[in-house]
Symmetry: none
């Protein structure tokens, strides 16, 4: 059994330009748990308040698979372990497992920490043995192990033995500088396994483009724990990419680890982490990249579908990804038809509506629309094109004023809005006055507009009160156009029964938000009507 240990939230968070909020970290934790990750290293509680807060909040999550791990350095020199603040923060977290890192490279102990080699061993032993009193599992990260081994092999081994003596449940060999080539890894691990009889793990970095193979080599030689991050996030060139490691281990090497079934979630976990890192999802990532299974023209749809094995090293669905055939109008249509079917709408391949919808979508996508995560907007587009939904309201205008009176006063916003509902709906509802003009305030312009819109429409459609906006994302497309760039706003809403995403694109960010907000409301009203037509509500 090989345990997957994810350090996206700790080592991954050290990636330049990335800063996970507390909510981000909790969302990622839940996604990793669903994937079946065995250990989630949540942070270093002693290092900053956000990490500390994580360990409090994570206790409220209902995790089914993952054990949360807290991370720290070994105790500081000259301080008793029970007085060391880092160590005490660890103890307070009350997590199932902790990991401490210690120096395995003699130079790091002497030059870096300014302690003797002997002191370093004691410090490792004392820290680990102390923590064993409080935690079921204590892991030791042997920092710079491979360079340390190359510099002073006996000493590097001694650091492992010190941790082992202390009771460490796994000794993790770290290629901290990422400079170790695969054949060096093979030789070094062979020796380690001869001299140290204890469970070992691997923590590789990608500075030589070797992190994945170094990790798999360790496993092949008997390592029981692999540390890495989603998408290979991490300092410099990143940690070992679990999105490559897990499928290689499970689907190719046949090693018992995360259940094969769970791998279907890999793609979405990978996308989530990219979203929350506010980075475009790298298209060429093995297994989980948008292009991982995108075949060039010339490989005909029929050929690849008849014999996928001739062109694909694995079935994309096994990791939750999809095959893409590029430059083919036929494949475009089949995507639409297939998606429409999922939504309960039967379309025939030759139906002109299909071409119309396809053109609309390509047009919108050229402007920056992106329907992944915005299935609500897609469904609206589909059903509006097919005349399967009604027009619920018409915008007659909005104005949003943002004011900031001085440097020291906070900005605030006021929105006014005019909407009108169609005659037929007014008659149905027995409403005389189909027009509403109202206002609302907020800290920011989007908040003010959202409130005004709901206020205006709730008069006609009380069920709107059930909608709660759970996610609001902005992505600036063509960022190089500066303030003239086009924002894409992605909104996620829920009404308790279902969750849906909607999107809006415009060079005007308020307008982009408006489009996504309006879609969110139309979607709710459309679904409620579908439920009524079907005679009763349906589950999300």
């Amino acid at each position: 059994m090989v345990y997957i240990y994810d350090t996206t939230l700790r080592d991954g968070a050290q990636t330049r330009g990335i800063s996970f909020s507390l909510e981000d970290k909790l969302r990622i934790t839940e996604a990793l748990d669903e994937l079946g990750i065995h250990y989630i290293e949540g942070g270093w509680p002693g290092s900053n308040p956000k990490d500390l807060a994580y360990f409090e909040e994570v206790k409220k999550l209902n995790l089914k698979n993952s054990k949360i791990v807290a991370f720290s350095s070994t105790k500081r020199k000259g301080v008793k372990v029970e007085k060391d603040s880092n160590i005490q923060q660890l103890v307070k977290t009350e997590v199932p497992a902790v990991t401490v890192f210690g120096k395995s490279w003699d130079l790091h102990a002497t030059l870096g920490l300014g302690i003797s080699l002997e002191e370093n061993l004691e410090l490792i032993f004392e820290t680990v043995s102390y923590l064993k009193k409080y935690f079921d599992e204590v892991f030791f990260d042997a920092e710079h192990f491979f360079d340390g081994y190359k510099s002073n092999p006996e000493y590097a081994i001694k650091t492992l033995l010190a941790a082992k003596e202390g009771g460490a449940d796994c000794l993790v060999l770290c290629d901290t500088n990422g400079g170790t080539l695969w054949y060096e890894t093979e030789e070094i691990i062979d020796t380690v396994l001869k001299k140290v009889k204890a469970p070992i793990g691997i923590h590789a970095h990608n500075d030589s483009d070797m992190a994945v193979v170094n990790s798999l080599i360790a496993v092949k030689k008997g390592a029981i724990q692999v540390q890495g991050t989603i998408n290979g996030l991490g300092e410099r060139t990143g940690n070992a990419n679990l999105c490559s490691i897990i499928p290689n281990l499970v689907l190719k090497m046949g090693i018992k680890s995360i259940p094969e079934e769970n791998l279907k979630k890999l793609y979405s976990v990978s996308r989530l982490v990219s979203e929350l890192s506010n980075r475009p999802h790298p298209v060429n990532l093995p297994y989980v990249g948008e292009n991982a299974f995108a075949h060039k023209a010339g490989v005909h749809v029929s050929a690849v579908e008849k014999n996928p094995k001739l062109y694909e090293h694995i079935e994309p669905e096994k990791v939750g990804n999809k095959r893409k055939i590029m430059v083919s109008e036929l494949s475009g249509r089949s995507n639409i038809i297939s998606k429409a079917k999922e939504l309960g709408v039967e379309l025939s391949k030759d139906s002109p509506a299909v071409k119309e919808i396809l053109d609309k979508i390509k047009n919108l996508e050229a402007q920056g629309y992106h329907f992944e995560g915005a299935e609500g907007s897609f469904e609206l587009l589909l059903k509006e094109s097919l005349g399967l939904t009604k027009k619920y309201f018409e915008l007659k205008g909005f104005r949003v004023l943002t004011e900031k009176r001085s440097e020291n006063e906070e900005a605030y916003a006021e929105a006014t809005i005019k909407v009108e509902i169609p005659k037929e709906i007014a008659e149905e509802k027995g409403i005389e006055d189909r027009f509403e003009h109202t206002a609302a305030e907020g800290r920011g312009p989007v908040e003010a507009l959202d409130k005004a819109l709901r206020k205006a429409l709730e008069k006609f459609y009380p069920s709107i009160g059930e909608i709660k906006l759970t996610d609001y994302k902005v992505r600036i497309l063509n960022e190089a156009a500066g303030t003239e760039a086009s924002p894409r706003v992605l909104i996620e809403s829920t009404d308790g029964k279902r969750k849906w995403g909607t999107v809006g694109v415009s060079p005007n960010i308020i307008e982009a938000s408006w489009l996504a907000l309006a879609d969110a409301i139309k979607y709710k009203l459309m679904k409620d009507d579908e439920d009524t037509d079907r005679g009763g509500s349906s589950e999300g």
Copy 2:
């Protein structure tokens, strides 16, 4: 001697979304030649007119190191080789070397090409031997070799022997589907070398994140040619990344290939290709990424300054890259001091100012501020804290109105702003009226505000006209707070002399943009004054 064979212009050009113009290809060719690449596969002349034109134009270049290679499929079935148009196009190119690819997987020959296994061998032999009459060097790419070997090892070997019989100068084993794991590569190449006495090469794809190690394994076993692309461009997950392979081979494995001196050009070749691919340069690329030598966590920075070998696997300068130190919530004092030093400010470790600045930063970061990519805001914060810069202007208020008149009309925005400059500056400049109240319009509110702000300040500081905003990013923090979430705006500006990033955070997106825009302007004014104080301008 291991020859590096670059296929950026052919296999790399098959990357989804990439299209090199003829000029792009010629520029890349010259850069690769300067780097010392041995073979440059320029294209498939039979496949499209742009590739054909390349082979004409490339003759006019004065190349010192690289041989140009033309690429094609083997001759078609049922056509005499001297009549095959692809082959004839090859002959016309008059390049020093050609490469033809043929099927090494039995199924691809029978199902794919619809020919018998015997015919396939003949086709390979005929094509290669024909081309040997015209070209000094003919290389054979054994397509799908590894999968072909796993499916029918004898046949795969036969295809190599057929090419060898034809006189091929190198038999290149291609992992076309990219599914081969490193230990399979080892076993298969061992057998090939026993059964086929001829020079072999390797052409790997990265679908299992194995392309680099597979290539290096082949070399270690005796391959004399490595095919790959700059930055790992290529279909799906890309070809083997030469920017990882070359430094590993030359700097680490000590293998004779491209001269070590030339590697200093690697970084700039890598950047050039990204630019011409119109893609952002991936920051985490080994060796050549912006982050490859960027240190973040406070624990590492103090150590790296003392002794770079403690944290860097090679000297960045060897590949033309540079070390970077970053600022973040994980910063210790040493990060602050080190960054201040870069900015020309000497701070002592125990100086109270350091703690004050560190606290300010941690505080701001808890609110969502993020100084990576916003070095301008960081420098302002530092110098304002230390009294090293003046107050250039004060906001006396702004109002931004966004209006959308109906569903069909586009939204637009108008901003009004009031600013005032300090008495001392007005006196210095001989300006009487220190106050300005003006307005501007834009498609969106941030554009309108930006224009209004510049308009207002340009009156006092004409140099503001030099500022161009080159990047505008928005990140919504705590997205789950919906429209009450806090946007973080990151702006990049340039004035031709330098580039700088600034940041603003607020629940009000207009205010967040305001903060980043105001910082961008303050930064410019501060730097201009510093230049003047120093007596002359400085380079970016």
